[in-house]
């Protein structure tokens, strides 16, 4: 491609012109972001505009909804993409006045906007007309104020209720036709993989309705990042979003966003180390997903679970050698990585290669133990079905989408790091069920191993005098005021995106995290409708959510 650094490629300019024609007078002004063209629209035109963009222009992926407050207005940004080509992005910016922050809901267009807008209402305080159920989602119902709005006073006391578990059985019996029963799963329950509360309504033995109740681990990650300086203070936090050893993948999301915002070029050598570390993280993360899933569906505490943890320990040892920590690596730096591979290098290469050499035998063992197991298959095949269209509507990404046949992987479709130069495949499955998702993860482990092996080859042959691990980055990083960027990477669970708005200081004006688990979990209701409770547990396990990332 012959793209200049400043000028847009010709087809992109054409694309923007077509969009401008499509929106016509509904687009009030342009407000371009670093990653995408942006159009400002009236709060009353949101549904109209989004419908057109989805139906006529093919933007079928509502990646993220960002809400924020400026001095003179509230603003909602819809970050839209195409599943077929995630580099084709557009931002729809909806300003609303401070005294009446009401805007049309995007939920009728993109189902996934439901939770995103509830979060925007909860944290920033923008209200959405037409929204089916605009309530707080992360904070308790009785919370006072909207914490990411300008007027919030953090010192004020709060009262939080512990509602006794409601039992709708009784009121339901007033209506003789209905005999549903209410069942709580969580928030303290071994099968919920953390502190998730699933309010389940049963009709006989089948599930009539479920509602995931989240926010039991909402630790203000966005606020933490907005209080930190770009250079060093933000990087430790991504490790703690998806804490299942996916640290480096998460760090890359922040690194990619800030490097694009501040126009920092990362040395190739550092990119290879990043790729190597990230794929090791993916292996560790998928191992845990597999082990806990086996635990969920046939209570295998001894064999499969222990085997996967044995392999995780090996990966964690390698990562510890590389980064110095077992889980919270804090290894990436803006513009590179913290340090070079550990000395003696040969030992590190040998240890990693040993692990890779043994991996195929282990994967075969898992297949013997799990995927060919009859009980396992009975529990997983044709349960928790998620159709591709539904998956897209809910903004599902990662192995959840790929298990439903949606061929979407940012490592290939929106290349970053060193992935472009390596030989590997994107794994997709057409099963759409729990089984397909598990197989997807297992095959991804093998693909990741391929990537790691190629990275090792390149690193071994890399000239000794050219091992540059960090770009030259100013000590105090201050991106231009009002520059905005939304950038995503393929984390273990799917598309992990970061939106940063710079306000000219050394700290972000707004830092928004698009977590893949948040969107994926939303699809749970669709997947478990009409199934049994054990299928719900299996579906939850196959979604592989991490509550730290759902709640942030």
């Amino acid at each position: 491609m012959s793209t200049g650094t400043e000028s847009m490629p010709e087809d992109a300019t054409d694309r923007v012109d077509e969009l401008a024609d499509l929106l016509g007078s509904r687009a009030l002004t342009r407000e371009d972001h670093v990653n995408a063209p942006g159009f400002v629209v009236n709060p009353g035109d949101v549904q109209d505009v989004l419908f057109d963009l989805r139906e006529k222009a093919g933007y079928d992926h509502c990646s993220c909804v960002t809400a924020q407050q400026y001095e003179d207005r509230f603003e909602t940004i819809y970050h839209l993409k195409k599943y077929a080509d995630p580099t084709d992005e557009v931002s729809i910016v909806v300003p609303t006045p401070l005294d009446e922050p009401v805007s049309q809901s995007a939920e009728p267009v993109y189902r996934t906007a439901d939770w995103h807008e509830r979060e925007a209402y909860d944290l920033v305080g923008i209200e959405y007309e037409d929204h089916p159920d605009l309530r707080r989602i992360l904070l308790p119902e009785t919370w006072q104020g909207h914490p990411l709005s300008a007027s919030y006073d953090q010192e004020k006391p709060q009262v939080v209720t512990l509602s006794e578990h409601a039992n709708p059985l009784e009121p339901d019996h007033e209506d003789p036709e209905s005999d549903t029963m209410f069942l709580n799963v969580g928030p303290h329950h071994p099968a919920t993989h953390g502190v998730l509360h699933v309010k389940t309504v049963l009709d006989g033995e089948t599930i009539a309705h479920i509602e995931p109740d989240i926010g039991y681990l909402h630790r203000c990650e966005e606020q933490m990042c907005q209080q930190g300086t770009y250079r060093h203070q933000i990087m430790p936090y991504p490790d703690r979003w998806d804490y299942v050893s996916s640290g480096l993948l998460n760090e890359w999301a922040y690194a990619r966003a800030i490097e694009d915002l501040a126009e920092i070029e990362v040395p190739e050598y550092a990119q290879i180390i990043r790729t190597l570390g990230s794929e090791l993280c993916r292996i560790a993360s998928h191992m845990l997903a597999l082990g806990t899933f086996a635990l969920d569906v046939y209570g295998e505490f001894t064999a499969t679970f222990m085997y996967t943890f044995r392999d995780r320990e090996l990966v964690q040892d390698i990562l510890e050698d590389l980064t110095g920590q077992r889980m919270m690596f804090n290894y990436f730096r803006v513009g590179g990585v913290a340090w070079d591979l550990p000395e003696p290098r040969e030992e590190f290469f040998e240890q990693t290669r040993d692990f890779l050499d043994e991996l195929p035998a282990k994967v075969a063992e898992y297949n013997d133990l799990i995927t060919t197991n009859e009980i396992f298959q009975t529990r997983c095949i044709d349960t928790g079905v998620l159709e591709p269209d539904v998956a897209k509507d809910y903004g599902c990404t990662g192995p959840v989408a790929r298990g439903s046949g949606v061929d979407y992987d940012l490592r290939r479709d929106d290349p970053y790091g060193y992935y472009e130069n390596l030989e590997w495949d994107v794994v997709t499955r057409d099963g759409c069920d729990n089984y397909a998702r598990v197989l997807c993860r297992m095959e991804e482990v093998e693909e990741s191993a391929k990537i790691v092996e190629q990275c090792l080859d390149v690193l071994e042959g890399w000239p000794e005098d050219d091992r540059e691990v960090q770009a030259n980055v100013p000590r105090t990083l201050k991106p231009d005021a009002d520059a905005e960027v939304y950038r995503a990477v393929e984390a273990a669970k799917g598309e992990l995106g970061i939106y940063i708005r710079s306000d000219g200081t050394d700290k972000p004006g707004r830092f928004k995290i698009r977590s893949p688990c948040f969107s994926n979990l939303q699809a749970l209701e669709e997947m478990s409708q009409g199934e049994y409770i054990p299928d719900l547990i299996a579906s939850l396990g196959s979604l592989d959510i991490v509550l730290g990332e759902v709640d942030r």
Binding site: V159, V160, T161, E164, G194, R219, Q223, R240, M306, L547
Partner: protein, 235 residues
Amino acid sequence: MSSDEPRQTIHGSTAPSTDTREARMGEGADDRFNSKLREAFGTSPFILTKFDQFMNWVRGNSMFMLQFGIACCSIEMIHTYAIKHDVDRYGAGVPRASPRQADVMIVPGTIVSKFGPRMKRVYDQMPEPKFVVGMGSCTISGGPFQEGYNVVKGAEEIIPIDIHVPGCPPRPEALIYGILKLQERIQNGESSPVVVKPYELEEFGDLPEDELVQKLASEIDEDDLVMRYNWADSP
């Protein structure tokens, strides 16, 4: 065959199994309850000790842990239970899913406002005597999230904690060390004083009237359980 014959006879025995059955019906301890230790003490051994000391020793060596995962630290906690570290070796590794069957609660992660009352409820459901290990910086002070609007600044604001294991997250080795320290303390009959006044789970009607309570009165029933956080007074 009676119990005061040495245990070695069992090894050479080719007698049919009826002998064993008769022996079981006889007096004294069964051979199967015999042990090298008992042999060392002689034919019908007994020990003298203080009851309290004996009970503490027993308690320390048989701890049922609550299976309680909250955040990042729970991953390291699982590693502590699993292969390689295997905390079961120390008589402390049976994860129980129900708080009513557990003696020890490891709090592995950040406590936020919404989860505070739930954790208190889980803690209250555990039978006495119960012990708590606070795992990681978040349970000590809120850790890296201390400045968060929603974060309880240490689990000790809500429940008393016996052992703090620092780290973010602590390595499995560190957690095992903490558990061994707890066992040691239990065996010595030591317990921790509660140093922080915890946030209480109380009925809404019992809260002192103030602006906030008046505002919420229409939403919350008088006898609903609530927890009131005083963020400004938090350490």
